[in-house]
Symmetry: C2
Subunit: 415 residues, 2 copies
């Protein structure tokens, strides 16, 4: 059943407390299990990965690595229309993420040159979840930004299906992207393999991609040995709409996010009692269990509640969208106006659909090229510039008791 | 004793295996202890924080928050010369990090507008380690980039000394930075407090700053609830120098990094047998235990070994520095030329001294404004732009079995 709230006279924190969203800690059992599996893979390599895959997926894919010919074959087997749609989507994702690419820079003051070099990671692991369905879009939404960043080695891990094979759509997308390294390996054991390396999977520098609680726990376990991205949980959307919105469209937006079911949340926040009343009867079935309708005083209160919720997606339908946009702070992706339903960016508008979920928009960003680069800072001082800074550095180093630090500067001064 | 290696005919991976650097997993005991303390602070708040501070530091600082007058008093008590040195350092750090600040952007193609907004985090927690020494520089090396990013609320936690007070230099720097919220709270319990909030410490969106293994374990424990930075471990430097380098200066560079002792590593990599021979007798005392001298064929091999080591700092002393710089990939901070000893950037050259340690330069970046911002992506489509993209989005959504996603687009088409 749809949940209805009248928030007009209430504190936003209290309202948020009533909106559905699970989240919180991983259980100790999940963490312990993930730790054991990761350690086992670290010690026993491929054999451990295969055993766990057999145990959890019922199959033992040997070799784990998909032969490049199979990737090529899957790409060639794509129906022309579907191939075109994938190509359009991939091109738009590449275009968007090219815009966000940072640049190296350098600047000088009085003989003191400082700068920063941007460079891609050497080798990245991308996890594509499987199991209940196949999500080929999940592959290009991480791999295309990695390629824009300049990453040369991309290792893709996908849990095999009941036939022991990687899904054909996922392989076809790998082919379209020009990726050659796909492994039929999933879950915790794939995380261990990518972090420490096995006979058939070389270790990566960073692991990204969504997964279940065990995958998240495994990533936390290997963080430090490799980089990881922020945990991605169930999907959510906040639709902020006023009386200008069409109820049947808003209902579709809510149902779209809610059809992810498990843990998903759709929240309509509206100052219009008429809209809320008109949308409610259009929501049905199991997805409706994941939908909340929140009546507010005005659009400012709507944005305030949204910020406390920190949604993965927001869809703003109002003539006053600009004011709402300026008030929205903690959100991953915003669709502006009636013609920007979130489904567009879920597949093909350009921004990655890998977004901060579960309130993490308060500190995490959407998947971006920044996930696949690092900076190196540098300085290049003349002797004069060193002389200028030396007294300060020597003083502060001695204040912290680091005499050799001070001396490494002093030894380079003229006097 | 100094360790000497002849790497001229050896594989870089093998050489790296022999260079001193501990690292690796946190022990299960440390992780379990951190988890228990964090959970306890989550449940019992201030009282738990105070109990653990009493147990680990022997004091019970009440109130935990340093009164703003004490911060002001510490700043006023600064000797003029030291104040000037802190001010110069802070100004240079601000200048450097202003250069790296990303910008919001927007672009349009055929009625499809997409863009990205950059915004600062709302509230950040900065941990400043204490214990053996006082590191006031550690505060401005994180807080100044956070301020440049535009963060308004900065919560500083510092373990109290034996007198139950926060170190005067650290307080003085807080005053110079205009920070008003400093708590006498350290270790695991401070991480729990900043993540979940207590009666006296409001919860933050992200926690940054170096700490011991327990602090790192606690950060991993709360990751997901809040953001964290990459773990920072013991300091290291690689000095790449040829026969143009002065042995007594190189020796100072090595001793400077090695004087951090516990876990620290200094490595000279040089094609010059003469330099290695001349440096060796200049290294002495306990720091010498942390120093390795590596003879290589040429500067290209030096850069190759450095990349495999992925040092926190590199110092390049050679006429051919440009070639070396172009070969260096995995490193946090580089000093170029004889007049750029790492101590300059440890204190005052501009780049933050909070850097990727323990080989994490392979995937992590130096402290930057990027640690303190998030992106929000957005799209704003006209109906025509929606019509153009609709067939592709509907096709891909249906291929993944997400019918409502397809419908949320279809319902907005003209026909």
């Amino acid at each position: 059943m749809v949940r209805k709230l009248d928030a007009r006279e209430r504190d936003p924190r209290e309202v948020i407390g009533e909106l559905r969203r699970p989240g919180g800690f991983l259980s100790e059992e999940v963490r312990d299990a993930a730790r054991r599996i990761v350690e086992d893979v670290r010690e026993r390599g491929d054999e451990a990965v295969l055993e766990y895959t057999k145990r959890f997926s019922g199959v033992r894919p040997e070799p784990m690595r998909v032969p490049p010919e199979e990737i090529e074959r899957a790409r060639e087997a794509l129906p022309a229309e579907i191939e075109e749609s994938f190509r359009v989507a991939i091109e738009n994702v590449r275009f968007f993420h090219k815009q966000e690419m940072g640049r190296s820079w350098e600047t000088s003051r009085g003989g003191a040159t400082v700068g920063q070099r941007v460079r891609p990671l050497r080798r990245v692991g991308i996890y594509v979840p499987g199991g209940h369905g196949a999500y080929p879009s999940s592959l290009f939404m991480s791999a295309a930004p990695a390629q824009v960043a300049g990453v040369r080695e991309i290792c893709v891990c996908v849990p095999p299906g009941l036939d022991g094979k990687v899904n054909e759509w996922v392989l076809a997308v790998a082919g379209l992207l020009g990726l050659e390294e796909v492994h039929a390996a999933g879950g915790t054991q794939a995380m261990g393999a990518m972090a420490f390396g096995t006979e058939s999977i070389a270790p990566v520098n960073k692991i990204v991609g969504p997964g279940n609680d065990y995958v998240i726990a495994a990533k936390l376990e290997v963080f430090g040995v490799v980089g990881i991205d922020a945990p991605q949980g169930p999907s959510d959307v906040v639709v902020i709409a006023d009386s200008s919105a069409f109820p049947e469209r808003v209902a579709r937006d809510l149902m779209a996010q809610a059809e992810h079911l498990s843990g998903a949340s759709s929240v309509l926040i509206s100052p219009s009692a008429e809209l809320v009343e008109a949308v409610e009867p259009l929501l049905s079935g199991e997805p409706a269990e994941h939908i909340s309708l929140v009546r507010v005083r005005d659009l400012a209160q709507a944005a305030d509640i949204s910020n406390h919720y920190a949604p993965e997606h927001a869809h703003v339908i109002s003539e006053d969208w600009e004011a709402v946009m300026n008030n929205l702070r903690e959100v991953g992706m915003v669709g502006v106006g009636d013609f920007s339903p979130i489904a567009l960016s879920d597949y093909a508008a350009g921004p990655s659909h890998v977004l901060p979920t579960d309130g993490t928009a308060a500190w995490a960003s959407p998947r971006s090229v920044n996930d696949f680069i690092t900076h190196t800072n540098y300085m290049h001082f003349t002797q004069e510039a060193l002389e200028d800074l030396a007294p300060h550095v020597e003083r502060l180093a001695r204040l912290e008791g680091l005499e050799n630090h001070a001396e490494s500067v002093a030894v380079r001064r003229k006097n």
